[in-house]
């Protein structure tokens, strides 16, 4: 029975015409057969047919009753509605296709953003079982997030917590791994012994770390990543037990992690895992008790709130018992995700970017729904007569609205399929887009849409259905039946839709808002991109090395750096060389600088450089000279930029004066020996003044760590990069090269996120303008159609085509003006929020606003012109005959 029903339903849905035809055939056969019996009884053929028909009764009613049997269930009624919806939509394909494309685009765009957000914020990194994993994070007194806290807090939680079990602690560090065939910079995660157990990450070889490994006296052990095993150890089967050196300390490989596992956080990208020791060791430059990130797995059946309550209590106990604990921090548990924790840019700015995009996509959704609703209202108006007829024949209003809903549902369903494909495609494009510009190793989130994303798209589609159906449905509900029934086939009841116009104005306003945001972001990005740093960044190679594997103390490090510098200096094609502490040229520390006379500090970025730095950067001295290489320790000297000199000593010579830098309680006093020209040595960022202060590495050597060589050269970048790498390896094989790239690449990588944001914004803004233009076109065209008779009359009375075009354009442009005015008002209100995010442009950038005005006016005029031209071509005879 069920099978028979399903078969019948299937037939009804897919072959509705066939079912009707078969019923016709069946009844026709009945009539001929019946007639045959009458003929046999002696009637004439014609009489027999008539009598047979009479015997059957009202054929239409029999058919209707039989069809009634087919659709008895609610599902079948619904399917019939859908069929009706499809029929209506295929009747005016242009409107339907427009509506579908619009909805598909907006759902697709939205779904893409959601799937990116979902991928970045919700999915775990590869190789991890995420359920019940919980990150312990901290909130500072001013409400800011903090990822790490002391090791002692970890030990306390580990001992007392019943809800987070197991609980692991991690810390990050770049190390130098030395092996038979050379040294490599590796990204290491220092982990508590239960790390792999906590994450449920598997090893393909050997064992995980254990309690013994963490003791200080045991010899070093290391678990290596799969890719490291494959690339550095060439997948050797006997890798377990192999001896390597990490920052010069011996360590034995005890395990190999599974292929995709690179740590719990996207930014982590670990190559090796070493035990986190409770005491400082040669491997741990920072004191381990300073900062560890904790991640734990909630015991089965424990909610996040329960764990939070327990840890809050434990933390309060610990704070009371141990005054050395930070008294201002609060503990906050968050469900694990690949970005909750670590110090990645995504963790820092991801939320803000996503917030911007949520607003943007919501706006586009609003625009598109308004638009499609407008299209459907327009059609509802055209169909008023049909709907009125149906109602007068006894269809309930609910039934009519249900029909409209089915229509919207068909629209959204088609659009939903298209949107899912679109989102899937775009997420692959985005991946490629993110991965190109940056030279930094980057772990990419899994952005492929999964079922959650598909479900999200479905929810959006349903929302759109209701949003776009509501307008026409309300319209139908209000309407009087009689006037429409009285009109002829082509007739339309006069009167204009205020709703439609309001929607057009709203769309235009939102488009203005999106366009101005995109324009400002574009201006800001291109300003930053074309920003003059004050020195030549071309033909400048950056080589970041880690000397921790070779030098053991500060003096040794200074000696090593000087040796390397001398070695690189001799390379052919190298015109100038020096070095600066740290990884990147732009992450410098800002600290206060004072004169001896005034307590008022001036903020300046400081760094420690080697000899010849300004020569390599090609920034000239305006007074004084470079650091004295022979300067004996004791006399501290600094070099400052001209801007800083002018700020500290206006209209005075700075050379020879004493600055007092840093913490006023323990100031660092030094003599200014040189003033260099203004340049943004740290790269562009948000710096408003080129204020820099440089110390000499020779006078203030630091413990071995990462240092970046600046190589000014006159040859091809590739050749120099190869030569530099070779020379560094030859000079000291224990020195690991962390990265090698040109200054311009470094800058491009830093600005890439801004460009990405800008591109996406422009994409959305462009789409919204297109949609708004289509929407305006639809409404103007529809109005034009309604007023065909009026236009005909005007032409008949002597109006020229130009006059008609001007009239239609003028009317259309009145709404454009309203939309633009509203949009600019909105933009100015929102712009103050953008101030912080934008660099180099004021939020009320005139060029942006003029461009937006020109663009939207143009689009809007084009949208009005086509219908206007059609109006001008109205044939008065035809137009008036429809009367």
């Amino acid at each position: 029975m069920l099978r028979a029903r399903i078969r019948a339903l299937f037939r009804l849905v897919f072959f509705p015409a066939r079912a009707d035809r078969e019923l016709d055939d069946e009844l026709r056969f009945h009539v001929t057969e019946e007639a045959r019996t009458y003929v046999e009884r002696g009637k004439s053929e014609a009489d027999a047919m008539a009598a047979a028909r009479r015997a059957l009764g009202n054929v239409a009613r029999v058919k209707e009753e039989t069809r009634g049997v087919w659709v008895s269930t609610r599902l079948e009624q619904f399917m019939q509605d859908l069929r009706f919806g499809v029929r209506i939509l295929t009747k005016s394909p242009a409107v339907s296709v427009t509506a579908i494309v619009l909805i598909a685009l907006v759902i697709g765009g939205n779904t893409t953003v959601f799937s990116i957000a979902h991928g970045i914020l919700r999915k775990p990194t590869p190789g991890i079982r995420a359920d019940d994993l919980t990150t312990v994070s901290w909130v500072t007194a001013d409400g800011g997030p903090q990822t790490a806290n002391s090791y002692r807090a970890y030990l306390y939680f580990l001992e007392h917590s019943a809800t987070l079990r197991p609980l692991a602690a991690t810390d990050f560090q770049r190390l130098t791994l030395t092996q038979d065939n050379g040294s490599f910079a590796v990204r290491a995660t220092l982990v508590s012994p239960n790390y792999f157990e906590t994450l449920r990450a598997h090893l393909v070889k050997g064992r995980a770390l254990n309690e013994d490994d963490a003791r200080r006296d045991s010899s070093g052990v290391v678990v290596i990543g799969y890719h490291l095993w494959q690339n550095t150890f060439h997948g050797a089967e006997d890798v377990i037990g192999k001896s390597v050196r990490l920052n010069g300390q011996p360590a034995i490989v005890v395990g190999v992690a599974e292929p995709h596992f690179r740590g719990a956080w996207l930014a982590e990208l670990a190559d090796v895992w070493v035990p986190l020791a409770p005491e400082p060791t040669a491997l741990q430059s920072s004191h381990p008790s300073d900062a560890v990130v904790m991640i734990g797995r909630r015991t089965p059946g424990t909610s996040l709130a329960e764990a939070q309550a327990e840890l809050t209590a434990l933390w309060t106990q610990l704070q009371r018992a141990d005054p050395a604990m930070s008294q201002k921090l609060k503990v906050r548990l968050v469900a694990y995700s690949a970005t909750a924790g670590g110090d990645s840019a995504v963790a820092a700015y991801g939320d803000r970017m996503l917030a911007i995009f949520s607003i943007v996509t919501l706006l586009t959704i609003a625009i598109v729904c308004a638009n499609v609703a407008n299209l459907l209202i327009a059609r509802a108006v055209v169909r008023q007569r049909e709907l009125a007829l149906r109602q007068s024949l006894g269809a309930s209003r609910f039934r009519v609205v249900r029909g409209l809903l089915a229509e919207g549902l068909v629209l959204s369903a088609v659009a939903w399929c298209a949107a899912c494909l679109f989102a899937w495609w775009i997420s692959r494009v985005v991946i490629r887009f993110i991965s190109t510009p940056s030279r930094e190793p980057l772990s990419l989130p899994d952005l492929t849409p999964d079922w959650t994303v598909v479900g999200y798209a479905l929810a959006l589609a349903l929302l759109c259905t209701f949003a776009v159906t509501l307008g026409p449905a309300l319209y139908t509900r209000r309407q009087q039946l009689l006037p429409f029934l009285k009109l002829g086939e082509q007739g339309v009841v006069p009167g204009r839709s205020k709703v439609s116009r309001a929607l057009v104005v709203l769309q235009l306003a939102f488009s203005v808002l999106l366009l101005t945001s995109a324009g400002l972001a574009y201006r800001s990005a291109s300003y930053t991109d074309g920003f003059n740093l004050g020195f030549d960044t071309g033909k400048l190679l950056l080589a970041t090395v880690n000397t921790a594997g070779s030098a053991h103390d500060a003096a040794g490090d200074d000696l090593l750096l000087e040796t390397l510098r001398a070695r690189l200096q001799r390379l052919p094609g190298v015109e100038g060389i020096s070095y600066v502490r740290g990884i990147r040229p732009s992450s410098w520390v800002t600290f206060p600088v004072r004169t001896e006379r005034s307590p008022e500090p001036v903020l300046a970025a400081q760094n420690i450089v080697g000899a010849g730095y300004f020569d390599a950067a090609r920034v000239a001295f305006s007074a004084g000279h470079d650091f004295d290489a022979l300067n004996t320790a004791g006399r501290r000297t600094v070099i400052i930029t001209k801007d800083l000199a002018d700020a500290l000593w206006p209209n005075e010579m700075a050379v020879g004066k004493i600055v007092s830098a840093g913490d006023p309680a323990h100031p660092l006093r030094a003599e200014v020996v040189g003033v260099v020209g203004n340049a943004y040595f740290g790269g562009r960022g948000a710096a408003t003044h080129p204020r820099y202060i440089f110390f000499s590495n020779h006078e203030q050597p630091r413990p071995p760590a990462e240092t970046t060589f600046l190589v000014r050269h006159g040859a091809s970048e590739e050749a120099v990069a190869r030569a530099v790498a070779k020379a560094l390896r030859e000079a000291d094989p224990r020195v690991a090269i962390a990265s090698l790239r040109s200054f311009d690449d470094q800058l491009a990588g830093e600005i890439a996120p801004l460009w990405m944001l800008t591109t996406l914004l422009m994409f959305f803004a462009g789409g919204s303008v297109l949609i708004a233009a289509i929407g305006q076109y639809a409404v103007v065209a529809f109005e034009g159609r309604r007023r065909t008779r009026e236009f005909g009359l005007r032409i008949a009375l002597g109006a020229t085509p130009e006059q008609l075009i001007a009239a239609v354009l003028g009317e259309g442009f009145r709404w454009t003006a309203a939309g633009l005015a509203l949009g600019f008002a909105l933009s100015i209100a929102v712009a103050s929020l953008l101030t912080r995010a934008l660099f180099g442009v004021t939020p009320t950038d005139p060029l942006t606003y003029v461009t937006v005005f020109a663009l939207l006016s143009g689009a809007s005029l084009a949208a009005c012109y086509l219908p206007a031209r059609r109006a001008a071509r109205t044939d008065p005879v035809i137009a008036l005959r429809t009367e």
């Binding site: 028979a4 056969f29 009764g57 009753e65």
Partner: protein
């Protein structure tokens, strides 16, 4: 959609029973069923042919009969209905119900005066 169904000329469910019973003799098309019913009831039951088809389609949907297009002796295409296994069971059920009902009605009426 029609909300108002015509009242059947026969007692509710009786037409179904009669159709099922008729089909027990073998597959038949709609007209044939009508003719057979008229003949087997000695022309007493004149089934309104208009109500025959909704009933047949209802029985088909319920899975009690199955329909196939075949060619008649007069070389015409006709839709033949035949009883399914479920239809046979249903016939037994309906038959019992009818016996009970008619017996009850007979009892109420009492012996003829």
């Amino acid at each position: 959609m029609t909300k108002t169904r015509r009242k059947p000329d026969l007692l509710q469910g009786t037409l179904d029973l009669l159709i099922l019973r008729t089909l027990q003799w073998g597959p038949q098309h709609g007209h044939g069923i009508g003719v057979a019913l008229r003949a087997s009831s000695d022309e007493v039951l004149s089934i309104d042919h208009g109500s025959l088809y909704p009933a047949l389609h209802r029985l088909e949907r319920q899975g009690w009969v199955q329909a196939d297009w075949k060619v008649t002796e007069n070389k015409q295409r006709a839709k033949y209905y035949r009883l399914t296994a479920a239809g046979r069971r249903q016939l037994a059920v309906e038959r019992t119900r009818w016996s009970r009902l008619s017996a009850a009605v007979t009892r109420v009426l009492g012996p003829a005066q």
